[in-house]
């Protein structure tokens, strides 16, 4: 009998590889991260834009995600301004998606026979993307490890057929599986490289940037410039590059927000400006594709 101590260690990179292998086996394209700063895997055009329209679509990818206001200068064991999500998007949602998802957990070391896996109501909404969905947060022994969402609307457009989106919080899952209390102690590979060896300094520097040094005036100007460019691109029927500008604007907005430069009253206005761009991107994307 194999004792628990000898249980094979699943490193951070193995977790990614296992998920890629699992979803590849289940018919997904394995894509690479989008090369623009985004707040979540959902913003990758492989999810936002591909969830629109009638065509079937199955993709899986890692997406580095940035949430400037979640930075804690590397001092908090659970919060990061930069982290990784593993994202699966399938259109239409398969009938056996729940089973597929649960089996994927086994591939990364979470055995549903001994752990308490629960689906807790979480109706998701992204005002910036003009998106909404119904679904759950998935809890493992009380910890949220993933989100499971049936998209109902994206870029202001009703989804038909409906896609299902699975988002795994990779750090959370590894902390759970490797039994670590701090994200910085996660084991990245079998040579013993740790998460902190790679990212601790980043967290310190970017927290300083996000909270203290980001140039507010410059960012406001940048936001306006990006918006102008996106509009111009939309006029010229180039929704994909226009979408890039919207993503950049969204990130600029997030930094401004973490700098405390945006009042509650202004917030809604900025979010609406991004949403308006994304909506038009969605419409133009569907038109251009057909």
């Amino acid at each position: 009998m194999v004792s628990k101590k000898n249980k094979k260690l699943i490193t951070f990179q193995d977790t990614i590889l296992n998920l890629q292998k699992y979803w590849s086996k289940n018919g997904c394209l394995v894509l690479q991260p989008y090369d623009i700063e985004v707040g979540a895997g959902t913003f990758h055009p492989a999810t936002t834009l591909r969830s629109l329209g009638k065509e079937k679509w199955k993709a899986a990818y890692v997406q580095p995600s940035r949430r400037p206001s979640d930075g804690r200068y590397g001092e908090n064991p659970n919060r990061l301004q930069h982290y990784y999500q593993f994202q699966v998007i399938i259109k239409p949602s398969p009938e056996n998606i729940k089973k597929l998802f649960l089996d994927s957990l086994s591939s990364i070391g979470i055995d549903q026979n001994i752990h308490d896996i629960r689906f807790i109501e979480d109706d998701w909404e992204s005002p910036t993307l003009g998106a909404a969905g119904l679904g759950w947060e998935v809890w493992c022994d009380g910890m949220e490890i993933a989100q499971f969402t049936y998209f109902q609307q994206m870029a202001g457009i009703q989804c038909n057929p409906v896609s299902v989106e699975l988002t795994y919080g990779l750090e959370r899952i590894c902390m759970f599986v490797q039994d670590k209390a701090s994200v910085y102690d996660l084991i990245w590979n079998l040579d013993g490289v740790l998460y902190k060896d790679i990212f601790k300094e980043n967290e310190k520097q970017f927290s300083k940037y996000n909270f203290e040094f980001a140039d507010i005036q410059n960012l406001f100007d940048t936001f306006n410039g990006l918006e102008k460019e996106a509009k111009n691109l939309l006029i010229n029927r180039l929704p994909l590059p226009a979408y890039d500008q919207s993503l950049k604007a969204s990130h600029v907005f997030n930094i401004l927000d973490s700098r405390g430069a945006i009042s509650i009253a202004q917030r809604a206005g900025y979010i609406a400006r991004i949403r308006d761009l994304v909506k038009e991107v969605g419409e133009k994307w569907l038109e251009e594709k057909n």
């Binding site: 056996n96 038909n160 409906v162």
Partner: protein, 695 residues
């Protein structure tokens, strides 16, 4: 009679949707059976697990007869074709019809035979329609399907009288089997009845009845609590929710590091209860302990679940502790000026502006309450500072409470801290009401400022929409005043609040704000009285010319009157008033202004008039007695005591004298009587239920 049993299997349905769907659907079925005159046994219910919604009728009439019906055909004077059309449409021959004369003329009639109908057939046909009648608060589509349901509907097991009842619903077909494992839709098992179904699942520890699950959880928590000397109080709303997110509940006692009890306990509780859906534990004196109960959905064979649950709570509490330590030492006084950067509402300035207005108002209120102005102003100045803390950003529902904690740790006086902590209260239906005068002052001024501001921008609630929760705020304001038995010059405070907004750029129409806001407050006040069980006619009467400054007095008077209205004293006093006012209404009509309520004793012709006149004077004199000033029951008895004089007057005096001068004088005397009642309040709209017209 036949058993009917329906199981709708979905992916995990949220507790609130489960609850409303199952209640809804059972009612829909009952209404349907009632409407069709199909009898059913009184044992019927709907139960659920996160994945299964079950509708159960112990027995339903197997067959029912449809009574014979008389159907009117065409007029007899119409051509043959229309008669043939009628025959054809009913699939009958000429033998089956007969002629009958009606008010509208002569017609052919057809009497349908009474027939026996199989309930099964009716259900088959109607279940798809019934299922679509569920009102979902939120519903969704999935894959290519057009069906909207709370969460993806995967199977429908439908049994009637032990066998499969077949029907189609969108892309789904009903069956006589269901999935065994909620997470694996490949294995199914066939069932014939509810008992075997229930038994089958209980063998696996799955309890399909949510009520049973609730009892099990409660029992297990109680057992451990008793052993450990914990308080047995648990949050019943949470119990409801938790019972609906598990199918095989296992209670686990977990702990966390005692050091986290240093964090404001409300935060610890919120983390455990609201975020994690675990049960916090207190000792028998209500002190929070470093334990909690979690309810897992399976046996924790290796202790992993307990460990995981504890880890999550620890992680969350560490986060809160980090912020608590950081925020509690940030000087509140120094941070006040930073409120300038926090916008309150477009057109109503920033939070520093609001703070200044609140300070100004509560300073006036402190004069009315005779409490220290310095302390009230200090509390007002720093009461919004916590909005800028990380902790309030993390736990927005803890605004105010956290401000109180910060103030306490910075050494402010107890009453200042309490006032900050309580200044959003009362906030909901069952919310606690601040009792301390400092808290009352701060809460009142914050609420008045908000109401005046939003009414100033004309963002007035409509009948269906109240996005800024002004209705709730107003009810809070009313409760604050009445339940603390306070008399505030509310009208003047509102006037003053309007003036304070003059400094903000907005141009307020102060007169309009005052008018609309007092109408709004009085409407809510009437609602409040209604909730307190006061009769509608008393409410209406008491709020004639309602003076905002006196709502506590008006409420008390209405309440006292309500208590005695059906007793002798109440009936007497209403009778006294009504006999006089009825005759006045009849005689005076439009010329009311001519009557001032002053009779001339020199014109009295008999003792009945004189006695009544004297009694009125006595009552009026007694009303000025200082002992009676706040004794509303005494006032009511006093008004009732005129019964003898009133009765004698009406029994012996004819008001309608031939001499106009005498008649007018008698009406003046009655007017005088009515006006005396106004010293309590205008009784015009109060109904006298045993009214005998006695003119």
């Amino acid at each position: 009679m036949s058993e009917f049993f329906l199981e709708l299997f979905t992916e995990e349905m949220p507790p609130a949707l489960q609850k409303s769907a199952k209640e809804d659907l059972l009612q829909i079925f009952k209404d349907f059976l009632n409407q069709k005159n199909i009898a059913y046994h009184k044992i019927n219910f709907s139960i659920s697990t996160p994945n299964r919604l079950i509708i159960y009728f112990k027995s339903i009439q197997k067959e029912f007869s449809k009574k014979s019906e008389e159907i009117r055909g065409p007029r007899t004077n119409l051509d043959k074709a229309s008669v043939e059309g009628f025959l054809k449409s009913k699939n009958i021959t000429k033998k089956n019809i007969y002629i009958k004369n009606t008010k509208k003329g002569e017609f052919y009639f057809y009497k349908t035979p009474s027939i026996n109908i199989k309930t099964k057939e009716v259900l088959k046909e109607n279940i798809p329609l019934l299922l679509q009648k569920i009102k979902w608060k939120k519903s969704m589509r999935w894959a290519y399907h057009n069906l909207f349901w709370g969460r993806p509907l995967k199977s429908m097991m439908c049994l009637f009288d032990g066998s499969h009842l077949k029907y189609n619903f969108f892309h789904l077909k009903s069956s006589n089997k269901t999935f065994i494992n909620k997470n694996d839709e490949s294995k199914t098992v066939t069932f014939k009845n509810f008992a075997s179904y229930k038994n089958y699942f209980s063998k696996f520890g799955i309890i399909v009845d949510d009520n049973e699950r609730k009892l099990i959880i409660k029992k297990n928590i109680d057992k451990i609590s008793k052993l450990k000397n914990f308080s047995s109080n648990i949050n019943l709303k949470l119990l409801d929710e938790v019972a609906n997110i598990v199918e095989k509940p296992k209670v686990i006692l977990c702990t966390f590091d005692k050091k986290f009890l240093q964090i404001p306990n409300e935060i610890v509780k919120l983390t455990i209860e609201y975020h994690q859906k675990y049960f916090p534990v207190t000792d028998n004196r209500g002190n929070l302990l470093n334990y909690f109960f979690s309810v897992a959905d399976k046996e924790d064979k290796f202790g992993f679940i307990k460990k995981g649950n504890e880890k999550v709570v620890t992680a969350r509490l560490s986060d809160a502790e980090y912020f608590w330590k950081k925020n509690k030492s940030q000087s509140m006084l120094k941070r006040v000026s930073k409120l300038e950067k926090v916008n309150y509402f477009n057109g109503l300035g920033n939070y520093l502006d609001k703070t200044k207005r609140i300070k100004n108002l509560s300073s006036i209120i402190s004069d009315e309450l005779l409490i220290s102005k310095e302390k009230v102003e200090l509390a007002s100045t720093i009461c919004k500072v916590d909005l800028m803390s990380d902790l309030v950003k993390e736990f927005p529902e803890m605004q105010g409470v956290l401000g109180g904690y910060f103030a306490e740790s910075q050494g402010f006086e107890k009453e200042v801290c309490l006032a900050i902590s309580e200044h959003y209260l009362p906030s909901g239906l069952n919310s606690r009401i601040p009792k301390n005068d400092f808290s009352i002052a701060l809460s009142l001024s914050d609420k008045i400022d908000t109401l005046v501001g939003f009414f100033g921008l004309n963002l007035v609630p409509s009948s269906s929409k109240d996005p800024y929760a002004l209705r709730r705020l107003t009810i809070g304001l009313i409760k604050l005043i009445i339940e603390n038995k306070k008399i505030f010059k509310l009208k003047e405070l509102i006037d003053h609040s309007c003036q304070l907004y003059k400094n903000v750029s907005t141009k307020f129409d102060s007169k309009l704000v005052q008018k609309n806001l007092s109408i709004f407050i009085i409407e809510r006040f009437k609602n409040y009285m209604k909730e307190k069980g006061i009769r509608q006619d008393i409410i209406e009467s008491s709020s004639i010319d309602c003076d905002l400054n006196k709502i506590f007095i008006i409420f008390t008077k209405a309440n006292k009157l309500n208590k005695v209205i059906e007793k002798q004293i109440g009936m007497d006093l209403i009778e006294n008033y009504k006999r006089a006012s009825n005759i006045l209404n009849l005689e005076i009509n439009l010329k009311e202004g001519d009557y001032i309520g002053s009779a001339d004793p020199a014109l009295f012709k008999n003792n009945f008039e004189k006695d009544l006149y004297k009694k009125i004077h006595d009552i009026r004199k007694d009303f000025t007695n200082i002992n009676l000033e706040n004794d509303y029951e005494g006032q009511l008895s006093l008004l009732a005591s005129a019964k003898k004089e009133v009765v004698s007057f009406f029994d012996n005096v004819i008001v309608n004298d031939n001499d106009e001068i005498i008649k007018k004088n008698r009406l003046e005397l009655l007017k005088m009587l009515c006006n005396t009642f106004d010293k309590y309040f205008n009784l015009k709209k109060v109904e006298f239920l045993n009214e005998k017209t006695s003119i």
